[in-house]
Symmetry: C2
Subunit: 431 residues, 2 copies
């Protein structure tokens, strides 16, 4: 008999089917037992009347791997409206130990470090795997939106000879006897690829040796990067960001609907044009409202981003807000200045519900501008990058979006580690 | 005027359009000049009659970034059957140096190290970017096929505490003062994820400190990995491999048709069932044919794989051949033995035109089997992995496919470096 998943059972009412999965939980009453069988997609209740089978299953511990054949019966009382009657149960494999926490509860009832230490078990919980499916659907939506805009996916080196962002936070490794680093971003490579393919994106790991333990930083995270040529300025990049985020939301709705329901996710509306505020205006708004002296500071603090998130919701009814024109002082060397406003740049961040989600902007494209911006830096390790500009590059720009941060904000997780399968940070190298 | 790409020009016959791109080449005759403008997708010829414009463009060096407005005229003589007349040309940005090799030739005329040293330029050549588009389409096809089979995409750690494959070939790094390694594969993580999501795949970088310089090994490559639960044995995994490869071929045909044409790629037929030969039978065939004493050896040499590739084409008319049942001796610790044939395993390789493309098989799933297989190994760094088996795991299996090797074989490239954007090997850490 062909296996049927728990989510397909409803379509087989009146037939016998074969399920396979894990014993999620069981309840034994006086004359009947209920086994909950969880597979990779859902949970189905199995009703055991037979006394012999009840006796044989009573001692099975949670997470026993089982195969169950039974008759599909629609029932309003059953979870999901369907259950299996008259079952046969075969044990496929038996756990060696009792779980340190119960998967059967609607929410995992253990502290985050315990859950992360026991990832192999915790990730089996319906809420945890729902966040994994939201992440997968988000990435699929990102790719789909960019594919439709003529972008090509690329895969670039993660072992590099030089910093791609500011010099700090680099992991160093031994590369056949030479010191090398893990790439902090695909920035330099995606810019080079604009010269070849014009529009590129990459979904891949980036590495930051973050010396601080915060709820929103990881030592490895998944960066959704894009870069495109022949832009007028950063506004053209922002238009692509809008399409990418809209694609992510649409694909989460389409592919991960059960996860959205289970996690009670409220998907954001992505307006045709996401509201935008200039950095300097944002600072004035914050200062006028909070009394804090923020005007003239080179960056926004997380508290200020939260304030702007509330403001965007209040003033524009939007979960998304572009902050545009950050001061050059705090942006990386490849940032294109605002030609009309000295000290400010053609760059932006996108805030999602008050958290920085995307960073992007227009880049320098003239070789001489790079020489000026890099004055004093050793250019040798950057030579393969600067070659792109020596050989002629158009105005271009791009952006990067942190996947875990997006999923965390979407799912209302307080810590990115809750939505990362196997997080890496200062204190965590395993599992 | 909205920009139009070189591949869209034909649809605008009789209209004026604006192109943007790089000056690929120009030819000046007595009364007319031909400028070839290359953008991210193709090349369009621009016909310059005006004497003033001919004079102003004559000195433009190749790779000058230009915008050209002109009238679209269909013409059998023009490359691609279309050209721009009566143009206006605006220079956007000027190269600083002359290219060290010419991009205008149908084939790049320089040695591989020169091309790799000058990747920012070489990747602009139509053949090189065609291979990039074949790679992107292949990955899209892999994902699409697995999405349709109910797989979920995951992203797993690339910084790990222990070897995932045999102990050699590890890059070591300093992880906040602790020694750590770059992951040689997502193997351990994808197995753990079978416990949660049942069917997972990952497309990401893997790292091998290969001490040898060969034409088919890289220090970083892109691995297409999949793993699935509740298999009967490796045959269920091979069925998924078949779908994945068929999906890759279909998507290359659909998404990268211009690249397929340009590179004269012959796409393989993927039969409903890919022919398979047992490892021991393969050795007997090779020995009978070549006279070499190979029966009893624990693995196949590249020359033997080539022989089998020819044999599969001759006997089965197939570019693809599964070799099944490799001896346990040469397979990793998680390999499931063949229960009916001592010394052999439930594993396989897929050869594509005589080159190993995929490795896969059924894995052990019982905790005690792992303890036996790992006898003598320090289990502490593997604890988070072994936890999955302690908590109950079903029979499962999976496979890994090397993207660069696939693209190289498809495009007829002798060296994987020819189809890798920025290859990493013993001697190459940049660009």
């Amino acid at each position: 008999m062909q296996r049927c998943t728990t989510t397909e059972v409803t379509g087989h009412a009146g037939q016998r089917v074969r399920l396979a999965g894990w014993l999620h939980h069981q309840r034994h009453l006086a004359r009947v037992a209920f086994l909950l069988v969880r597979d990779g997609w859902g949970i189905t209740q199995v009703v055991v009347d037979d006394a012999g089978l009840r006796a044989r299953t009573a001692d099975l511990s949670p997470e026993t791997v089982v195969e169950v054949e039974g008759l599909v019966v629609l029932s309003d009382q059953a979870p999901g409206g369907v259950e299996l009657h008259d079952p046969e149960v075969r044990v496929v494999s038996t756990p060696e130990v009792a779980p340190p926490f119960e998967l059967r509860r609607p929410q995992l009832d253990a502290r985050l470090p315990t859950l992360l230490d026991n990832a192999a078990l915790a990730l089996r919980h319906p809420t945890r795997r729902a966040t994994a499916r939201v992440a997968a659907a988000s990435v699929a939506g990102f790719r789909r939106a960019l594919d439709e805009l003529g972008f090509t996916e690329v895969h670039t080196p993660k072992i590099v000879a030089t910093a791609t962002e500011t010099g700090a936070d680099l992991f160093e490794l031994d590369y056949f006897g030479t010191p090398a680093f893990l790439a902090q971003s695909p920035q330099l490579y995606k810019q080079v690829m604009v010269g070849a393919l014009e529009r590129v994106y990459e979904v891949g790991p980036v590495f930051r040796a973050e010396p601080h333990a915060t709820a929103r930083h990881l030592a490895q995270y998944t960066s959704l990067d894009a870069e495109l040529g022949f832009v007028r300025d950063h506004a053209d990049v922002m238009a692509v960001v809008r399409e990418a985020v809209a694609g992510m939301v649409a694909e989460v709705a389409a592919r991960a609907a059960p996860a959205v329901d289970l996690l009670a996710i409220e998907l954001p509306d992505v307006p045709p044009e996401i509201p935008a505020v200039h950095f300097a205006d944002a600072q004035r708004l914050i200062e006028a409202s909070t009394g804090e002296a923020v005007v003239g500071e080179p960056d926004l603090a997380p508290a200020h981003e939260r304030w702007l998130g509330d403001w965007a919701r209040r003033e524009h009814g939007s979960d998304l807000l572009f902050v545009v024109g950050y001061p050059m002082a705090k942006r990386p060397f490849y940032t294109h200045p605002d030609p009309d406003r000295p000290g400010f740049s053609n760059s932006f961040d996108l805030l999602f519900r008050g958290v920085e989600l995307v960073t992007g902007g227009q880049r320098l494209h003239r070789y001489d501008d790079y020489l000026a911006a890099l004055g004093g830096t050793d250019l040798a390790p950057l030579d393969g990058y600067l070659a792109a500009f020596r050989h002629g590059m158009p105005p271009h720009g791009g952006f990067a979006l942190g996947l875990e941060r997006w999923v965390a904000r979407l799912c209302g997780a307080a810590n990115v580690r809750e939505v990362t399968l196997f997080p890496r940070d200062m204190t965590r190298l395993a599992p």
